[in-house]
Amino acid sequence: MISMLGRGLVLGSLFFATTGFFGGAVAAMRKDRRAWLVTRNAAYAFSASMISANLLMIYALLVKDFSVEYVTEVGSLATPWWIAIPSLWSSLNGSILFWGGILGGYVALTVWTLGEKHKEYAPWALHVLMGISIFFALLVGGIANPFAPVAMVPPDGPGPNPLLQNHWLMIVHPPTLYLGYVGMSVPFSLVCAALLAGRLDAGWMVPVRRLMLVPWTFLTFGIMLGGWWSYEVLGWGGAWAWDPVENASFHPWLTGTAFLHSAMVLQRRGRMRDWTLVLGMTTFLLTLLGTFMTRSGVFNSVHSFTQSAIGPVFLVFIGISLVYSVVLLAMRSHLLDETARSVDGELGGRSDRTGGGLLTREFSILVQNLLFAVFTFTVLLGTLYPLITEAMQERKVSVGGPYFDKWALPLGLGIVFMMGVGPALPWGRTEPGAFSRRIAPAAVVGALFAGWSYALGFDKPYTVLTLFTIGFALWCNLYEFIEPVMQRVGARKESPVSAALKVFERSRRRIGGQVAHYGVLFAVFSLALSKGYRLERDYTLNIGQSVEDFAGFTVTYAGSELVTEPMRQSVVANFDVTKGGKAVGRFGPKMRYYPTQREPIVTPEVYSTPTYDLYFSLIEVSKEANATVVVRLIHEPYQMWLWWSAPIIALGSALALWPQRSRQKQGGAQAQVPAGVQPGGAK
């Protein structure tokens, strides 16, 4: 019954997507309102049927209906409800269904956001979005059908992958990452819509920027949660290993971040138009590549699925999308020449497609964009290199962490440096002297950070340089907020608090960007210190035996116990930790045994503080009580700051997304700013 109903819903979504695809094209070409209404309703119906199919599969997993193929793969009688629900995305076919469900959500969000305001673009955007939806509905209804009925109905199932049951982060990490991946189809559809309509103006910039910022924020959060999960679950005490599937999520993040910045140049100065369009398209295409990397079985990764029939079909779709994007750009980009000049309507016609120079914000964003592009290419090359060598020389070559670290460090530092230079420069020209006066205090703050780092013993040259760059960028971003506040206090005699609130109120989008930058600085700070000054040792301990000095701590093995739960057994080894004679606490890393798994799963225990993490991971322990253990102890400074960076970036995005009061309502605040001062305080 569930099989039939599920298949029906998926086929229904295929029908609605096809209707929307053709309806959108007709509505756009003939300016036909009736066709537009059909398209809009078809899009909503697609969303409803795809989301319903997902809910139905969740129901099947909850009631353990083993007549449904996907439930026999990941369901189990012993699985509690809070693991049964995330099982939806724990295996290949379910994850594709989940992709479709999220796409359904984004389709509805797009229709709602575009409303009746963007008639030139909306039909084309839905046409493209429905084209993508057709592919996923075909996939879910065909070779990746999770609703297929089972001939030999088993009495029980194996349950989801034990690694996915081991930590609550696995409940939130995949959906967040999917929200990032799938959402990139919306800005892609809007980029295609501009090209198909042959029109790009200020009305296009507003939704495209917002609809890029939403999935970008989810992608940022998803990547960070994935790193946190890896840290908390896998037992090696690290968040990022440059694994192909990890890299797959990083590629679109890099290009998406570049897009968010180049879109500002397009909006303010009317420049970098084609580059911005390319970035918008590339970001989506890289999410497809990422999905392919995880699901084709072609890449060797701990996160990827084994080879299946989905891979070749997905590759055909990537091929069509790539060729479509290139041809569309080649055939239609010149049509935008006329309308692109009015993109900067938001600033009242400040378009300046000539002039500029090196000391301008737009040039700094260009440099930063180039760094992002080189970074993307470098990571992509390292990820694809094993495939390239195998195709050309028939030998297997793997590219490891050292290659990526070697490139990521200078490129990342360059980007952080430009994150400071950009806000220190105004849109348009500035004098070298004014720029020097502006960055001199930032250099002093950078030097203070570098000195602090050196004084605390974090004295490797790259660490000191990183801390300098962080201090420099931090001050530049802070000063971009402080300067207009000081100007208001000086010119209008407002109190600092009142001036700060007013600046915040009328520059929320810009401040959102600054807050996101602070989040990035948190992450860089943590990475520089936790990776560079990590202490790791393995110890074999009998009951009562101690490690006397591990990073200043005394660690005593207090014995082990066997804990039995419905879906697993766990051996918990307890360690008492003291520092300078004072008790820090008792920590119990585990070795977990799942009934369907040949090997046990390591479950570390982490003691996190703002300045350091103490990490316990069992390497060997038997089920016998109080047996000898082999434990890995890791001490990492400032690791927690990495996890804090994600909510800070998300807060910045939320501020940037929050609707701003129109300029009229603000009482012409623009006109009241002292002459010669641009928004942001840049002269």
Partner: protein, 176 residues
């Protein structure tokens, strides 16, 4: 550089120079599954054995030639073996033309008898007291199942629990 309706050849060429090699390299990845751990026994004749089942009956590879065989190494202390047991019972009943044989791996025959009395038995279980047959087949742990065709050739080794989705296609291959 371009007229209305014209194609920007530079964009087209630049795009295709990136796109086409990328697609080529991704396509060549198929058929080289990096997850697949090759098993040296696959494609070779199944090692000979002569073992006794729990009821004392002799079974040898020689006598099984001409019949498709599923040889399942298992034990009562192994969790995944317990999961796949009902599925193997079902399959043995559904495919009477296939010979299903369990091989007891590092376990006591008495413990196996008790387990089978409780959970059901549909095919013989062979006693391999010294583990010699497990060594001949290259067994590294349990469960491991060998799918042997009518010519006595190992077609596939499954080094994990069997699922309905994996079992049925493998049975189809050895029944051909």
């Amino acid at each position: 550089m371009t007229r209305r309706g014209a194609v920007n050849v530079r964009y087209l060429l630049a795009g295709l120079v990136v796109v086409l090699p990328l697609l080529y390299f991704l396509a060549t990845g198929f058929g080289n599954d990096p997850h697949a751990v090759p098993d040296v026994r696959t494609g070779t004749p199944a090692p000979r054995f002569d073992l006794v089942d729990l009821d004392g009956k002799h079974w040898s590879m020689e006598e099984l030639k001409g019949k498709p065989v599923v040889l399942n190494f298992w034990s009562t202390w192994c969790g995944p073996c317990k999961y796949e047991h009902p599925l193997l019972l079902q399959a043995a009943k559904a495919y009477p033309d296939v010979v299903f044989l369990g091989v007891i791996y590092s376990d006591e025959p008495e413990a196996v008898r008790r387990y089978l009395a409780q959970k059901g038995q549909a095919y013989p279980h062979l006693v391999d007291p010294t583990g010699a047959i497990a060594i001949d087949f290259g067994v590294t742990g349990v469960p491991e199942s060998f799918f042997i065709d009518k010519q006595g050739t190992i077609v596939h080794k499954e080094a994990q629990a069997l699922y309905p989705q994996t079992l049925q296609p493998l049975l189809a291959r050895i029944r051909q």
